[in-house]
Symmetry: C2
Subunit: 517 residues, 2 copies
Amino acid sequence: MCPNLAPSLHSFPMAKAPKNAISPTRAEDYPEWYQQVIKAADLAENSPVRGCMVIKPWGYQLWENMQRALDDMFKATGHQNAYFPLFIPMSFLEKEAQHVEGFAKECAVVTHHRLEPKPGGGLQPAGELEEPLIVRPTSEMIIGATYAKWVQSYRDLPILINQWANVVRWELRTRMFLRTAEFLWQEGHTVHATEQEAIEETERMIDVYADFAENWMAMPVIIGSKTADERFPGAVDTLAIEAMMQDRKALQAGTSHFLGQNFSKAQEIRYQDTQGDLQYAWTTSWGVSTRLVGALIMTHSDDDGLVLPPRLAPTHVVILPIYRDDQSRSEVLDYVHQLRDELRAQQYAGAPIRVEIDDRDIRGGEKKWHHVKRGVPIRIEVGPKDLEAKSMFVGRRDQPKSFSMPRESAAVKVAEMLGEMQQGLFDRAEKLRSDHSRVITSEAEFRDFFTPKTDSVHEIHGGFATCHFADHDVVQPLLKELKVSIRCVPRDHNDQPGTCFLTGQPAAKQAIFAKAY
Amino acid sequence: MCPNLAPSLHSFPMAKAPKNAISPTRAEDYPEWYQQVIKAADLAENSPVRGCMVIKPWGYQLWENMQRALDDMFKATGHQNAYFPLFIPMSFLEKEAQHVEGFAKECAVVTHHRLEPKPGGGLQPAGELEEPLIVRPTSEMIIGATYAKWVQSYRDLPILINQWANVVRWELRTRMFLRTAEFLWQEGHTVHATEQEAIEETERMIDVYADFAENWMAMPVIIGSKTADERFPGAVDTLAIEAMMQDRKALQAGTSHFLGQNFSKAQEIRYQDTQGDLQYAWTTSWGVSTRLVGALIMTHSDDDGLVLPPRLAPTHVVILPIYRDDQSRSEVLDYVHQLRDELRAQQYAGAPIRVEIDDRDIRGGEKKWHHVKRGVPIRIEVGPKDLEAKSMFVGRRDQPKSFSMPRESAAVKVAEMLGEMQQGLFDRAEKLRSDHSRVITSEAEFRDFFTPKTDSVHEIHGGFATCHFADHDVVQPLLKELKVSIRCVPRDHNDQPGTCFLTGQPAAKQAIFAKAY
């Protein structure tokens, strides 16, 4: 018997599934749901090395698609890629006081350059280095040392370089994609002749990140400045994009730092200006990482697993052939191969539609759920009856019920549906954020907003509170008590002065307050 | 005065240059010439970290083009990308005896996870790790540990995964691109149910590398097996591609290893076969690195700098506008923008022609040599006279003399010239190899072939000697004396038995002998 026969895919429509594919659900235990989505979608797993993950092919393809889109955006804004060393001599890190303060507590230190047999068996480190090397937690210090050599004259500026690389920060509490000891990222490092140009670059790149988050990831973000205690160590100003996850916590998804002359002074990055005078340059740095994969998962996925915005999905459409015997197999396969080729000839978002046929010899229901959990935007099931009716059975990852559709409309409709889904995911995420954002003007309301109403540690509550506040230090104890932080001072906010939600004092600025990852 | 005016580009044809752009020339001092080509082409430079290089934008674009082409070839042969940890616990390395022997002597060892202030100032490592971590020199041990979990049944096989990553080997004598402490590479790691399948994979991937070397890099290669002492530590068989550089030395440009069951036994990678019996799997690994950039430089470049095979060149055509005043500037720029757009609409080797305009405000001669040294395949100079004559002045990087050409033939001719250059570079490299390859049957001839004829340490001599040899250990002292090594036992060789060039004994196999990088 052909294992694809019973039960047929059609007999297992998603809406009738006995239960959700992911257990626990978001409502039951959001952090555990997140881990289970990653597992069910085969995105990544913990490795035998403490705090490091293995990014599996489906997760890595997602990251590759992100990389490709971002890389094109960086190049379109005049940047070039380069590559700098993995290691930073310890003495380099000491040059910028705040910087070393920020990174010294969690870095991997290389002290030896070989292994030798240990008396009694096994190996031990040998060949001690004269100066320990740090595995880069970020590359300001090693790249800056090189820039100091490259920059002589105003003619050498600006330098607009990006690097795709791995970095290591010895995090104690890790969570896949969100916080791991090693992670993959890109880091832009630029040098400018004037403060104004460097500030413009900082703004330009946070705008690129916001564009990517909203138009590729379908994830609405707020652009704003970090307060002093949340700034990048050594930065004058840190701009960030902040997104609301489905548990209403904030996630910082990308940062762009205006470094002023702090690093150019620490590293002697100086240039001769048009008058022949020596000036310190102005620098920036900016980065996003594999954390974006975590943000994407937590923004869109549901209790049946991963949901992918079509523009980043490794596969847009999976076609599942169903047949009873060798003859229907051959007919169905002909039909689906034609369908695949026709779809591949179509464009979605400026590139060919990515279509796969899953002809594995496993049960239809299992096969279908495999793709549901992995977030493939559109499933098309084709059986012998569809051949007769010249139809196909379509499942959209963003809708509970599958439906039949004429085969002849596939070419037009599939691209259209992908576009609808991309927009629909963004709209849904924006509605969630808007439903759980509010302006708060009193301590009582603030406390109420951020306090669970039940005994469950898993209660989803809170959201984004926009509050005037007068003094960072004064609000800090309350924030600590409620486990809330200041996410950012939004750039696009109405800058009306008001009164501090806590003290009632006049306050010039509003900020977004939230619990956060 | 417009700095583009005098001297005009046309007055500095390459053939009349007072001397070569690179000093020393290849004949004068080949190793130093290599360093100077890298410097003049702005490909890379030494970093402040011992043995590590900075890959500059032009060099990195070249690597990106290589990556893109190889990645497509890997995917076309059924592989997917993934990412595994940078660190390997020391105990993992101990599991395969030959493997640890091969890598323990040159690895970066992480022993601490933070820095703390040192009494008296500065920092010192703190937070000693329970088990030291090795920065991966290659990832068989960390990837194998994960595969052991993934592989349960024959249904899980084959696993066909590739990783793009950085690796570290603590080399004492480094040379940019060819041998650096940190380098970028890809490493494929596959698992198979049968020996036959694993051997086929090993062969398939060395064929992919040979295809890439010959058809993208325009670098002819010989495919063969390494002798036991040159094998990858732990491999049963290592296949390599070997190329001849212009100093007639061999360079190993890529390797593909059949690992047998050595690693699956060391790491317990076992699967249940169709009968339900537990079997050790068969594994392979294969890799190429940024060393390919070094190979490309040494294969094609000349005494004026880098020469790039068009398929990998970051820029195919650079257009250099020449003008005298604002009016001619505007006319010339119109002309070159149209030319650029027209060329960009053309295809070469299945992709749009990559065209840039260099309108920097520097002297024409300087600008032209800038692009010559960087290896841009085609330069097109356009001045006011070309507008009148509807012509353009074309310089090919592979020909000494520039020539005028009708503007209207640009679209067709440029793609044609790029194709000619790609083939011409391959043919020239193949001729060099053929001119300096010979079959050698006696010790006297062997000594003569590999001994310089002058006192100069920089004399270019030797080449590839194909010799029958009976016993590896017996020829070893002679090889050591002459600084020659066995490069490989060529796969495609006529396998006629013969007599050993050294001992006269019967010998079943021929090998390629050469001095090597």
